[in-house]
Symmetry: C2
Subunit: 515 residues, 2 copies
């Protein structure tokens, strides 16, 4: 069947019955009730601390085929996923389903665990080597499933994914299970990504390298749901949280894109007192944030909130009084983490608050403007952030869908070329985010406004911005390079891309070669 | 049938099948799953603010027989319960079940609503006139149910009580439904008592007198579950939060009790670094807190946490560095509220964290010492805080059961006489808290130690404290007064007293007169 972004989607993917994507806000929740949480109980005197991850696996009764969940707040510095999988492998466990918020290059050992049969399914983002490996086809027992931050939370609450054991890396915890990511020896920032896991998993295990006396606060993860704790030497390397993303771009091309983006936001009717925005941690987004902050100061505008990933740049806006609050789901640098500890207005939020489709409201719906990157965009304004032009599944969705759908004005910031590869294409390799949620595509060669937004187009034109048809920008870029080879896809579906409501917006197929 | 505290309990109470009390930690949770929450959804653009409580009742589809919930953070200053019931009465609604955390004298209009049939059931504490009215018998369609703070949370999560509409008084809220009790025009302190209601109710309505721009923080109640908001002129009078409870006692008798209590705690093996305690807001408890703080300072002991209700006295200990944290579920004065806003170590907790039996741990289980009041105690160390010696149901349970069961050392602080009425009796009128959870009864005539705690008795004797048999203290007090008349009870059960695990520890019967 063809879904609402005209992608061919099978009626079943693996063991899953597919609901096709119908539109960004087209569906109602399935059913009238959320999943029921597992009943829990505690004796009055109980020692929850176990001597090893192996002991925790034993205590949880983890068995073949179980679903294990993890958060990614240590990003490419995480050690816990590897530790747990090593322990599972040693115990001879097979056929596990991994349900991480995201995998990074640090987790390339997952490939070995797939080859040895320890891991047979993955639902979660796969940044880098694991994604490339899975893209070869024939690796997993069922196609992978990728979800947005909000979509993952929704899936847990709706019962789409039942977690057997949640392993939660915690930079600080007390022996009763309260845990936080903003204190400890190696703070990583908010760990609320695991809050739904902790609530809904049959068993919840906190893994920490800093066990301190009761009570740890803030209680991002609470004693109420933690079954066991394990102390290890290292849970992650906070130096790797930033993963090199936190440099303001110095490229003149990208600075021009950032400048045009900021000017487009400033030209919109939303750039008034109470303005709110979200940028990512990429170089262009950081530059836009900086430009907008300066413009707010000049215009005397105080923003209601900036949304994170938290960065030093956002914290700077808070400290300068240019925004009243930061809503922060994950920290991209240590300045942001320090600010969460110190600034009452720097508020941690979890993905449910941020973007759960099946809730009475999402923080992303309150955004005036969002500026997001892309791997590819197409003439229907669809965006791909998952696959590269070589067809390989190399990135997760993150909050891309959630923010694009929510923001009053969504701007996709892309250079027209990356090396010799055009970024604007006829049809994106994979639809991550549908064009109906994208308002403007900003390139160094001008801005293209979605035809659904003639109101906005008029404002940008009036502001003297270089508004151009997307086709024209695309053609101009293509004239500068030779056509490149394209991937040849096989039939096998290696991953389903879920829209945030649980429908399937696209599938990723096995790469068989390149033409 | 007779339960584990030897009370006669019927097999059914109203429409409810009774599980009899088996012991403080004897039962396992019923079933393997908690109740499933109602699925919710939000359009992207939605105005949640409604013009009146009547409009909210309409929007929620509230109908005859529905269950309405409320919190008591404004205590005797609350206006919201009356406003909502007036609106229900005007709409001609009948047979409502009230599920407040507590009713106070301010809610005596509930009596009229019972007489007119608007309200026919109550599950929640009834402090004062409503309790006295219900005690006459024949007033409610089903016996009332009283639960502890933790027990109420458990009942919601376990599905024992399903809430149709939660009305949440919020001193500050934003138009998307985020709400807090610690900011606004009339802050009342934490409103986390309603957090389970907000999550599990079919519909959740925030009633505020201070609607401010998005985002309000801390988000004690979140946009994720709030369906509607209503702005009213007055939600409550913060002057009445304290309700006259916050005076340190000046009575020499009570000061002696407080002094003996503090000395007993200091003599226990638990009075070391990391010590934790909870006192209430009564005059004796406040004096004990003060004595203990001074003793900690002198001994160089730093406590891990003090548990609230938050008071200026606890805040003072935090500021003096004598305790590292305050875990605060409800504020008893404005100093406590200010401290929550300003002190990172003054942490708000909800009743689930505090004391939910069906969870992986309760904060009360981490308490070293607790000093609690009582209306009556008996020779089995059972405690009554619900009924007076006249048999009338005049008080709720609060956290009494939760704290007594949890604390390593539970001390009940009581004068032997109140006016001409002995406090130590053969058998308490109503068992609120079973003797097995009580370690010491402290009176001005000496301390009685529960025979289960010979270890503790030896320490107190060694410390030179006046340890005496409870029978002896009782007899000494009785010699000073004439025997008083006793209530004559009818057969009708007017209320069930739940233990925190959902079993029934006692029932309260209709008062027919006094002998």
């Amino acid at each position: 069947m063809r879904n609402a972004v005209d992608r061919e989607i099978p009626e079943r993917i693996g063991s899953r019955e597919v609901r096709p994507f119908e539109g960004a806000f087209a569906t109602s929740p399935k059913g009238t009730q959320k999943a029921a949480r597992t009943m829990k109980h505690a004796p009055r005197d109980e020692d929850k601390v176990l001597p090893s991850i192996d002991a925790a696996i034993e205590a949880c009764g983890l068995s073949d085929g179980a679903t294990l969940s993890f958060h990614h707040s240590f990003r490419d510095g995480d050690r816990v996923i590897n530790l747990v999988l090593e322990a599972c492998a040693k115990r001879g466990l097979k056929g596990l389903r991994l349900f991480p918020t995201a995998l990074f290059p640090a987790h390339k050992a997952v490939i070995d665990h797939i080859e040895s049969g320890v891991v047979s399914r993955i639902e979660g983002s796969m940044n880098g080597p694991v994604g490339a490996f899975v893209s070869q086809g024939g690796k997993l027992a069922e196609p992978a499933v990728l979800r947005s931050h909000g979509g993952r939370w929704r899936a847990i609450e709706a019962g789409d994914v039942h977690i057997d054991v949640a392993f939660i890396a915690a930079p600080q915890a007390d022996p009763y299970g309260n845990a936080t990511g903003i204190r400890g020896k190696t703070p990583c920032g908010p760990i609320g990504f695991s809050a739904a896991d902790a609530l809904y998993a049959d068993k919840t295990v906190v893994v920490t390298n800093d066990l301190v006396p009761y009570p740890v606060y803030p209680m991002e993860i609470t004693q109420s749901c933690v079954d066991h704790l394990v102390v290890v030497d290292e849970i992650g390397d906070p130096e790797n949280i930033a993963s090199g993303t936190l440099q303001l771009t110095k490229s003149p091309t990208r600075l021009r894109i950032a400048r045009l983006t900021a000017e487009a936001v400033m030209a919109s009717e939303r750039f008034v007192d109470g303005f709110s925005f979200q940028g990512g941690a990429g170089g262009i987004s950081l530059a836009v944030t900086k430009y907008l902050g300066d413009a707010m100061e000049e215009a005397g505008i105080v923003g209601s909130f900036g949304m994170g990933g938290g960065t030093k740049l956002l914290v700077d806006l808070l400290h300068r009084g240019l925004i009243r609050t930061i809503l922060d789901g994950q920290a991209f640098d240590l300045d942001a983490i320090a600010s969460i500890r110190e600034d009452a207005g720097h508020v941690m939020i979890d993905p449910g608050f941020y973007a759960n489709y099946d809730s009475r409201g999402c923080a992303t719906y309150q955004l005036d403007a969002a500026f997001l990157g892309a791997t590819e965009v197409d003439l229907n304004f669809n965006v791909n952030v998952n696959t590269h032009s070589d067809g390989l599944l190399l990135h997760g969705i993150g909050g891309h869908q959630d923010v694009a759908a929510g923001a009053g004005m969504t701007l996709i910031t892309v250079p027209t070329l990356r090396g010799r590869i055009p970024v604007i294409v006829d049809s994106v390799t994979t639809v991550t985010t549908p064009g109906e949620t994208v308002d403007v595509i900003v390139t160094e060669r001008g801005l293209a406004v979605n035809p659904r937004r003639d109101d906005l187009k008029a404002r940008l034109v009036n502001a003297g911005l270089p508004v151009r048809p997307l086709e024209e920008i695309k053609a101009e870029a293509e004239r500068l390079v030779q056509p490149i080879g394209k991937p040849v896809f096989g039939d096998e579906i290696i991953a389903a891309i879920e829209w945030r409501d649980g429908t399937v917006i696209d599938v990723v197929r096995k790469v068989e070669g390149w033409e």
